[in-house]
Symmetry: C2
Subunit: 161 residues, 2 copies
């Protein structure tokens, strides 16, 4: 329940401290994302499209439902629906009826989609590493990962959409 390596939990943060943390997190995300988007690798395929391919690549067993995918992406349901339609037209994903629920569609990477994700992904992680390079040491980076993961989990679990 408490931080693994730490002592007792410190008090609940104030509204002000919380707002500050969110602003800092958000601005960092903007600064990094703005620079990642500028990568020529995202000329032909937008970074949102890439993100969908990436997310699908992490769930190889049968793909994902549209609504599951939607949890990971900052897009309205209808926008994601059409984004996936575009990916299908490009031959990067397939859409078929979900096996257990005829309302749903199951989205799967095609071989071309998987290959595209890998190709772009290789350069992408290098670009991320270049951007972050020297900003944080290994401990700090691990702590950043831990804290953001913890925040996300908490938010997702206690505040359903």
């Amino acid at each position: 329940m408490n931080p693994p390596a730490g002592g007792a939990a410190t008090p609940t943060p104030s509204v002000r401290e919380t707002a500050e943390a969110w602003e800092s997190l958000f601005r960092a995300q903007v600064a990094v994302m703005r620079r990642l988007q500028a990568d020529p690798a995202f000329r032909g395929l937008g970074i949102k499209e890439y993100d969908v391919l990436f997310t699908l690549s992490g769930c190889p067993q049968g793909g994902l439902r549209l609504n599951e995918l939607n949890e990971h992406v900052l897009l309205a349901q209808s926008s994601l629906s059409r984004l996936v339609e575009r990916l299908e037209r490009k031959g990067l994903v397939t859409r078929r009826a979900a096996p257990d629920d005829a309302r749903g569609i199951l989205i799967t990477l095609t071989e071309a989609g998987r290959e595209t994700q890998r190709r772009i992904g290789r350069g992408h992680v290098r670009e991320i590493s270049r951007l972050f390079g020297g900003a944080l040491d290994a401990d700090e980076l691990a702590e950043l990962t831990r804290l953001t993961a913890k925040l996300r989990e908490h938010v997702v679990e206690t505040h359903p959409l």
Copy 2:
């Protein structure tokens, strides 16, 4: 140069660790932002528009230039140009020629804009606090703020757009 409360800097992180940290940061941002956007307070005025008002509210002395504003927001220059145009039409900001550079425009909050920002902002920070509530204790939150601020500063300084 080193973490205030820490010891010596640990090694440079691997590409993999860096990519993991970015994904975690990004997903946390998505989860939080998705829920913040759903706030009925952002019915009449989108969260991006609010963000511009908020940023302007932090720089009371004469406002900001469009290109300065653009650093804070994840929008193409042309999109921000039109977003500001919309805010002007709503009477929330004014645009006038920058004093020192006739190419630039200086964007300033109107009284109505400042009031709107304050009104929405009050509920907004409470909503942030509610979302984060209990996710992290005070120390963890402070560390999250510190790490994301450090990351942002480093990225902005070493990777100009």
